[in-house]
Symmetry: C2
Subunit: 150 residues, 2 copies
DNA sequence: TCCTAACAATTAACATGTTAAGTAATATGC
DNA sequence: GCATATTACTTAACATGTTAATTGTTAGGA
């Protein structure tokens, strides 16, 4: 095999392709988020809180796809910015419950439409049908792969 | 909309789905790589070098999907382990050329089959046809999205 | 009740992601 | 041939990813 053919193999490998595709998509969001002083991960956390309301750290981490140690650090930053608040769960002293503040909700309401507009562009460029098809395939991949090796 | 419906929207959003899918796949590789003292990114760099032969840092970064500042740090580690060597390009004093050492190639030859075996399991679990379909869709997404907003 | 296991969150340590700025070498236009 | 821009790589600073260990709390069983 030539070096080009070998590299082509890597180029078609699932982890790489998923990484590249995600990077292509996120490249469109990052400049807008950065202009608001947000990282991609912080934006995920804020969105989940605005959608779900008050949530304990474990569920927040799960929904935002962020590992607990990362979340702990981020929550301090977000709380420092006044966008969220945390309190201890009275029914279970181990849990911390987090929610967006009024200021946080206003901030989210400012950023949200800009994110939605960018997402629209991506959907338009790719096609709504293909997007649905892709998302379904990715869901199926996740399901089958998680079940397989456990 | 209920909180569940709002969360469902996030669950179907492209960046999140791509992230989750990639995580599902990588979760199968990481334990094996860790057992060899490798991170996922280090393994990508070693594989690219073993496939392409000597390569300058820019192309290496591109093929391994790693940003140049990250690569600079990693290359020091990999060189410290004796798996790769770097030398300056005589035709262009700006470039650094990297290649796997003999020891590195032996190491890669040890890890490679284990990675291939895991990949096989994933392909089997998901289906070869669906995998090809998925990779094609991801490639197309990347192409169309990159062209759209530039 | 008491001991232990399990759980939730956190801390620590190291590796990578991300952007901006810096350094050295090369390319370009005049 | 020289000033300038561009390129390749690096450094710096901060944020997150990743694993392991720690702390405090709750749950279960003898």
């Amino acid at each position: 095999m030539t070096a080009e053919q070998l590299l082509e193999k890597t180029n078609r490998s699932l982890p790489i392709v998923l990484l590249r595709a995600r990077e292509s998509v996120m490249a469109h969001f990052r400049p807008m988020l950065a202009a608001h002083g947000l990282t991609e991960q912080q934006w995920r956390v804020l969105r989940v809180l605005s959608e779900a309301g008050e949530l304990d750290a474990s569920h927040l981490a799960h929904h935002a796809c962020i590992l607990p140690p990362s979340l702990t650090r981020m929550l301090k930053t977000l709380e420092g910015n006044g966008w969220i608040v945390g309190r201890r769960d009275k029914n279970d002293g181990r849990r911390m419950l987090f929610s967006a503040t009024e200021e946080g909700l206003r901030f989210i309401a400012t950023v949200s439409p800009k994110g939605a507009a960018i997402y629209e562009e991506i959907v338009d460029a790719f096609g709504e049908d293909k997007l649905r098809q892709l998302v379904d395939l990715l869901d199926e991949l996740q399901t089958k792969v998680n079940g397989a090796a456990k």
